[in-house]
């Protein structure tokens, strides 16, 4: 509560009294920017782990039942060869880590915390202590998730979707404590995400600077606001589901076990009722990030600001009534399946509005191909491919054919890697100067972007082909089926590309840490952008601005406006008008 009155204190003059110890500055910090950095480091660390798990999975698919290099020391009994149970664990944990501990912490956790107060002209979040609890709850959930690798029986192995009864009966997957830990970790993560999202929503509604009306908010803040509402309403459903699953496994309840009168299909309903909004939780912030970066580097206003905001609201609303499209083969009434097909296809409309508006923004602009811009363009183009393959699967007859094949694996990776991860890279390159006060190296940035873009497509596009060819998702060894053997060369190709994709991340790691300590000092507004965060010092001090908060006079995308001599007109710059009171 005290933060609402923080504006009155004139903190700049008190800077000397704000010296905090190491622990309060770097570990139990209540500063939204430090919390954002903590989320970023959590996400990047987990991304390395999740990426390595993906490579382990790919190795097994290309060269089945051969020793995985580097795993000889870990899997001693099999001298590095993956057993089916270990393989199941690897793909389960790859997806779980990437979704819950990489994309959500980086996009919603890091950039939500960093952008919302800075871009709205607030000194901090509405509840700084709650914010600190949110990162530490999420980090604890991450640690608990990692502990699962070391318990007897291994980690959860029922897929990230953890369908019952496979997940509800320990003997089916052979994992006992692993699956329990999976449930406990996601339960705790749900609490952490709730703390974060009530903070975001309250901050957006109540803490905006003077003049920052709702329809003057940058689109990335709109996207994070909508994401927070989705998180707030979707995560509790998963939380209730994992609680039931945990009780089934540990207390002997019968929510999902038919032996006691339970219903296994119930899990799918609960999971996907959460799961489909979750997909938009993963993509909406990336959409906002692209909407932020494209106008800056095309030097043009965003095309259709209101349409962009309302289409995100439309997507968020529709995301609640489409979840059944994950369950077309679950024995659902065909009439209901038809309804879900229609609602799913309707989502293409707001998505297309956004895509055409991005293209309209680029049209006729003076485009600057900086590293953040390239990543944002990759987001737009890859999201189109991922979105279009989504429409294939929205159609029930097509879905029944490609259900649980590599086609869905290709689709989800085009959306969450091609979409969310390119969005995350774009955001990291774009806000790095403000976040850490130093510029990233553009050469290393290009060395990271181009191989990543090429090998991303070489890795995931062929999955459409082998998926239509019939290769099942989560299959241990495709060579055991005669009808899949003729396309094994694709599996080898994909794995080699995936290894190259992994190697392509090395320039990013070098760039990140080199720039962190030795990068060129960042000026106040290196990209000549309009939004409020660029009016604060780089990096912004605790409480962001000096004695006075910025005042907002216009929308966030006034590039090449006729009333300005520069090609940009920041939100905080007072209009020059005869007789107008000066700020």
């Amino acid at each position: 509560m005290s933060s609402t009155t923080a504006t009155a204190h004139g903190h700049a003059t008190h800077a000397g009294h704000h010296e905090l110890g190491f622990v309060q500055t770097y570990i139990f910090s209540r500063d939204h920017k430090m919390i954002a950095r903590q989320f970023l480091f959590l996400g990047l660390f987990m991304m390395i782990l999740g990426g390595l798990l993906a490579l382990v999975v790919r190795w097994q698919l290309a060269w089945p039942e051969t020793a995985v290099p580097g795993l000889g020391g870990i899997l001693k009994e099999t001298s590095g060869i993956l057993e089916p149970s270990t393989y199941n664990m690897a793909f389960t944990m790859h997806a779980t880590i990437m979704i819950f501990f990489v994309i959500m912490p980086i996009l919603a956790g890091c950039f939500g915390n960093f952008c919302i107060p800075l871009m709205l002209g607030a000194r901090d979040m509405a509840f700084p202590v709650l914010n600190m609890l949110s990162i530490w709850t999420t980090a604890s959930a991450g640690v608990i998730m990692l502990v699962g690798f070391f318990v007897p029986g291994g980690h959860a192995a029922a897929g990230w979707t953890s369908y019952a009864p496979l997940s509800a009966v320990p003997s089916y997957t052979g994992t006992n404590w692993g699956q329990n830990i999976w449930c406990i970790s996601l339960f705790i993560m749900g609490i952490g995400s709730m703390m974060g999202s009530i903070n975001y929503v309250t901050t957006v509604i109540n803490m905006r600077a003077p003049g920052m009306k709702l329809f003057r908010m940058p689109l990335v803040v709109w996207s994070l606001f909508i994401t927070a509402i989705l998180l707030l309403l979707a995560m509790p459903v998963l939380t209730s589901g994992v609680a039931m699953l945990l009780f089934d496994r540990t207390l002997g309840t019968s929510w999902f076990r038919p032996s006691g009168g339970g219903e296994p299909l119930l899990w799918q309903h609960l999971f996907w009722y959460f799961g489909h909004p979750e997909v938009y939780i993963l993509i909406l912030p990336a959409m906002g990030i692209a909407s932020e970066i494209l106008p800056v580097f095309a030097r043009k206003p965003i095309f259709g600001y209101h349409a962009m905001a309302f289409s995100m609201i439309g997507i968020a609303f529709l995301s609640w009534i489409v979840y059944g499209h994950h369950m077309f083969v679950s024995g659902m009434n065909p009439a209901l399946g038809m309804a879900f097909t229609v609602t799913t296809m309707i989502i293409a409309v707001p998505s297309a509005i956004k895509t055409f508006n991005w293209l309209g923004t680029l049209w006729g602009g003076s485009i600057r191909f900086t590293v953040p811009m390239l990543n944002a363009l990759a987001f737009v183009s890859m999201f189109v491919i991922g979105g279009l393959s989504g429409i294939f699967m929205a159609s029930t007859p097509v879905d029944i054919f490609i259900q649980d094949t590599y086609f869905i694996v290709a689709h989800i990776h085009y959306v969450v890697f091609g979409g969310s991860i390119f969005g995350a890279f774009a955001a990291i390159y774009y806000w790095f100067p403000k976040m850490f006060g130093r510029m990233t190296n553009p050469l290393l940035g290009h060395l990271h972007f181009w191989p990543t873009f090429v090998f991303f497509n070489l890795t995931f596009f062929p999955m459409h082909i082998i998926g239509v060819g019939g290769q099942m998702r989560r299959i241990y060894n495709p060579m055991q089926y005669e009808f899949l053997q003729h396309q094994q060369h694709w599996n080898v190709f994909i794995t080699v590309s995936a290894l190259c994709l992994g190697v392509a991340q090395i320039p990013f790691v070098i760039n990140f840490f080199w720039s962190l300590f030795a990068g060129q000092k960042a000026p106040l507004n290196p990209w000549n952008a309009n939004t409020l965060e660029w009016s604060a010092p780089s990096p912004p001090p605790h409480l962001n601005w000096g004695a006075t908060l910025p005042t907002v006079y216009r929308g966030p995308y006034e590039y090449n406006a006729p009333e300005s001599r520069e090609d940009f007109l920041p939100q905080w710059q007072a209009p020059v008008r005869a007789g107008a009171p000066r700020h």
Binding site: I198, T202, F215, F247, G252, Y273
Partner: protein, 223 residues
């Protein structure tokens, strides 16, 4: 979006009359206007946040209640044979106890508005006492049911009963802790008629857990 496309032409200008001045590229956002004034918050942060907590909790309980109803409707016989029936009379009285605590809470907030700290403390204590009484009676009912052989592992009947009622009891417990914090704040004068948000937020959450109970009671005990 150009405002001239959407807005009616000003009075006295026909649609095919004078050419309107060219629209200024607004680059997102809306009309330009004079000096922006300070904003007034919609509602105190704490109350706003509590509203969203309640929204999230509603989804959590919706997950549990609908899952229960799906199992309940799908079962051939409910309650299953050889299982104890749930006690109706005692829990009906208990429901009234919990509803009464909400009424006392309303009067506590009213007393805060009137600046009567002693009444605030007494009524908060009353609400907490009624809540604690509710939990105690629930505990005795659970003990009785367990003695009759209804346990968490006796099929969907026991599982859904204990999960749902237990989840609600846990929330009442949490709300009681929150109430205790609000009581301490009120006793120390940190909450008063000028800064009522902390107590009002607590009251909102209390009303939520109270209002949740009749829904659960009707679906679990009555239907």
């Amino acid at each position: 979006m150009s405002p001239t496309l959407l807005e009616a032409p000003p009075a006295g200008v026909r649609a095919n009359g004078r050419t309107p001045p060219p629209a200024r590229p607004t680059g997102g956002g809306d009309d330009h206007e004079g000096e922006p004034g300070p904003r007034r918050p919609v509602m105190a942060n704490a109350q706003l946040a509590t509203m969203f907590v309640i929204a999230a909790e509603t989804m959590f309980f919706a997950g549990l209640i609908f899952s229960f109803l799906i199992l309940r409707v799908g079962a051939a016989v409910w309650p299953p044979p050889l299982q104890p029936r749930l006690p109706l009379g005692m829990t009906a009285v208990n429901t009234l106890v919990l509803l009464a605590s909400s009424a006392v809470m309303v009067r506590a907030v009213r007393a805060l508005g009137a600046g009567d700290r002693a009444a605030v403390l007494a009524r908060l204590g009353g609400a907490a006492g009624l809540g604690a009484l509710f939990l105690t009676v629930q505990g005795f009912e659970w003990a009785r049911l367990i003695r009759f052989g209804l346990t968490v592992s006796s099929g969907a009947y026991g599982a859904t009963f204990y999960t749902l009622i237990g989840a609600h009891a846990a929330h009442v417990g949490f709300a009681l802790t929150w109430l205790a914090v609000a009581w301490i704040l009120a006793a120390r004068g940190r909450v008063d008629a000028r800064q009522p948000a902390a107590l009002k937020a607590c009251a909102m959450y209390w009303h939520f857990v109270v209002a949740l109970w009749p829904v659960i009671w009707v679906s679990v005990y009555l239907v």
